[in-house]
Amino acid sequence: MIAFGYFGRRVASTIPMLVLVGLITFLMLHLTPGDPAAVVAGENASLEAIEDARHRLGLDQPFVVQFVRWFSAVLSGDLGISFTSGKPVTELIFDRMPITLSLTAGATLIGLFLAIPLGVFAAVQRGSWLDRGTILVTSLGIAAPEFFIGLLLVLVVALEFGWLPATGYVPFAENPLEWALRLILPSLTLGVGIAAELTRQVRGAMIDVLSRDYIQTARAKGLSAFSVIIKHGLKNAAIPVITVLGLQIRRLLGGTVIIEQIFAMNGVGSLAVRAVFHRDLPVLLGVALTTAVVVLVVNLLVDLSYSYFDPKVRAG
């Protein structure tokens, strides 16, 4: 019951945030120079055609009227129609979201898969050559730009050795194997950065936890090293790690824009980039709002996970 109440309060607190995101995005787009009507009317349209397009799209209405119309439609689940493709924005985002989410999920998994063992091992073996090596490698991982890692991976893994495809996305339903193969390199590109950041967090948190009295007590009671490190150590070190993981996932949603370009994947990032250049306001607003929802959901999950890892949070 308490958990449901907590969940309800957290969800309710996101609604004003979404309204604010919508308003700020709408305002920013209307302050951006450029004429969407000119783009919609086509490259050699007459001035009359441009004005007709402006009227048809409702862009000749006052700002407040446009915002109220858009937001009322959003409340009923309608994100509008793309100015350029004429398709519903919801459909466009729904079509592209699996690519971005696949990339984000793949990168997160790779990040966790690398970071947890490396971080734990570095903490347990603190001061050893392995620990120093981990610090060095993770520093490089944090410093290296994602586009550089991506291009390097394509050059070596795809073009030099031909082990994996260099570009493209194949939907899971079309060919699961090809879907997985095409996700490896871009996910690895994004995952390396996450892994580097998380490894350092895991290491730092584990060093802190492993020096606590209850760990010494657990050891003194004769518990196995595995039980001490994983059950008593890692679980208690999880909160700072999850906080950073949440931040990384939010960063990933932005990072996929460049990775989608390098790997020719048409996810939400490339949809947004194209919408910016073509002044496709409904698509841009839709993407901004959807991304905000995803970020708020991630925040919510992170907050909820605190109560799992630390019951004191739930009680508070």
Binding site: G86, D95, N266
Partner: protein, 536 residues
């Protein structure tokens, strides 16, 4: 003149030559074709009819509706040409030839056009091509009004009524004499869709693209990819085409080349700067010169640019040879004209009119009353390609005292140059060509032209254009007039062309054939592209 002669192929393995067809050996080829599953014999060469042609392109399609505003020349035309046949087929050099219309008659002083349609042509859904269907297509576009593209509006603005003369014959009555209709019907305005496509409200994303072309639609994702399969019932036969044709929109040039190198694509449009890299990777590079140029549009109403001597000074101040060598990587040639060297309108003699001569440029500036130089506002479209070229121009013009001041906008916002109040003095952009050479002059240099914001360099241009408008395409006088307009445009510096543009393709050596330069459009036709046996 044949545009094919200008095709250049080079690469590790060089261009693949088609074996000449020998009648004496023809029977052997046919017998072999019957025995070998997959490859068939076309024009004396075996082709792979089971493979899929996967093309990675730099532009995509918002929708597959030819009438939609986003379906104009700067969007991918390859898919449209593969799905829809046009009433008139423009050959590689741009001459009108029979298409869905087998023949035509132009009458009553260019005020009527009677089309006789090819019989037995069926749409991808099995419906028959009839005069009634063509009429319905035309009426749909006229009814769309300003919702359709400027190209369509221009094509159909002179159509008054349409009369059905028979099941396969119709007559268009025009409001005024118009000799350009065949060119319009040879491009996007002449694409005919099935009656099933023409339902109430069908437009843009709601339009079902069912044509009569050599490929039919399997799936379409806006600005991602279009998957087509060969139309085996095509009225002109399958002709050894691949089993499928996929068009992928990949804006990043590096990603396109990488896709080709690692096997996701079998042909890619590459950037000129990637030519050496592609060759180094063992790929074959094909350069198709187009009726397309890097061009500076000028606002003739501005005090400095309204002065002929000032414009001539700019012409002399630009080292086109250096620009072409440094920035086109061998894919472009310096030019002061709008047409490829293979175009009938191209006049080699005009190229000597404005040699690079900074001293002469300075003298002309002084004569024009700008002894101390002048400032020119340049509307700069914010892409790497445009910025690089603009910076080179800035340096060249600075040498003679012309200061280019950049006014940077997104590429989609070029329209502010011609929309009142017009912004900036010049705009440099890629001009993609038009099916009719006369249309090029109409849009670029005539009064009211869509890329000519305010004025005209000399009234003679308008007079010559009007005269040419009243001539049929095969009138030999028309070509003479077109060349005369070209000459006057260059003489009066109506625009400032810089260098020609080409489509640069890369593919595995010997795998692709039939991709000839197609001058009527910015894109080349992929309808007759074949793949060699063994190529995937």
């Amino acid at each position: 003149m044949d545009g094919v002669s200008k095709q250049r192929c080079n690469g590790a393995a060089g261009g693949r030559r088609r074996a000449p067809f020998r009648p004496g050996l023809g029977w052997l080829a046919i017998v072999l074709g019957l025995f070998v599953a997959g490859p068939v014999v076309a024009q004396g060469a075996a082709t792979n009819t089971t493979a899929t042609l996967i093309y990675y392109d730099a532009v995509g399609n918002e929708t597959l509706d030819p009438a939609e505003t986003q379906s104009q020349s700067s969007f991918s035309q390859e898919v449209f040409l593969a799905l829809f046949d046009t009433l008139v087929r423009l050959d590689a050099a741009g001459n009108p030839k029979p298409g869905l219309a087998e023949s035509w008659r132009i009458g009553d002083g260019l005020t009527t056009l009677t089309l006789s349609l090819r019989r037995g042509v069926r749409f991808h859904d099995g419906a028959e091509l009839t005069a009634e269907v063509v009429k319905r297509n035309t009426e749909r576009i006229i009814a769309l009004g300003t919702r359709t593209s400027g190209t369509m509006v221009e094509a159909f603005r002179s159509v008054a009524t349409i009369e059905i003369l028979g099941a396969h014959e119709l007559k268009l009555m025009l409001k005024n004499p118009n000799g350009q209709m065949l060119y319009h019907f040879g491009s996007i305005a002449g694409m005919v869709a099935s009656p099933a496509s023409l339902t109430e409200g069908a437009y843009g994303a709601n339009f079902k693209p069912i044509g009569t072309g050599p490929y039919r639609l399997k799936s379409f994702e806006s600005n991602v990819r279009t998957v087509l399969s060969r139309n085996d019932d095509y009225w002109a036969g399958p002709q050894g085409r691949p089993a499928g044709f996929e068009h992928h929109y990949v804006p990043d040039g590096r990603a396109r080349l990488n896709a080709l190198r690692s096997g996701q694509a079998n042909i890619a449009l590459i950037e000129p700067r990637q030519i050496a890299e592609a060759k180094g990777a063992g790929l074959q590079v094909q350069i198709n010169e187009k009726n397309s140029v890097w061009d500076i549009y000028v606002n003739l109403s501005r005090p400095q640019l309204g002065n002929l001597k000032f414009r001539q000074a700019m012409m002399h101040a630009i080292d086109r040879q250096a620009l072409a060598e440094a920035l086109s990587f061998g894919s472009g040639t310096p030019t002061v004209q709008f047409f490829a060297r293979s175009s009938p309108v191209y006049d080699p003699a005009l190229e000597n009119r404005y040699p690079y001569d900074p001293a002469k440029a300075r003298a002309l500036l002084a004569e024009a009353g700008f002894k101390d130089g002048a400032e020119v506002a340049h509307l700069l479209l914010n892409t790497t390609e445009y910025r690089t070229l603009a910076e080179a121009l800035q340096a060249m013009l600075a040498e003679v005292g012309i200061k280019l001041k950049f006014d940077v906008v997104d590429a989609s916002q070029f329209v502010v140059f011609r929309r009142p109040p017009t912004r900036a003095d010049i705009l440099m952009a890629r001009w993609g060509g038009r099916p009719d050479p006369l249309q090029v002059f109409q849009e670029l240099v005539s009064t009211g032209g869509s890329f000519n914001p305010v004025s005209v360099a000399t009234p003679e241009i308008d007079q010559l254009i009007e005269k040419a408008r009243g001539m049929v395409p095969d009138d030999p006088e028309r070509l003479k007039l077109l060349r005369a307009i070209a000459k006057v445009s260059v003489e009066f510096v109506a625009n400032i062309p810089l260098m020609s543009r080409s489509n640069v393709y890369a593919y595995r050596p010997g795998c692709i054939s039939g991709l000839d330069p197609y001058l009527p459009q910015g894109d080349d036709r992929f309808n007759d592209v074949k793949m060699a046996p063994g190529c995937k």
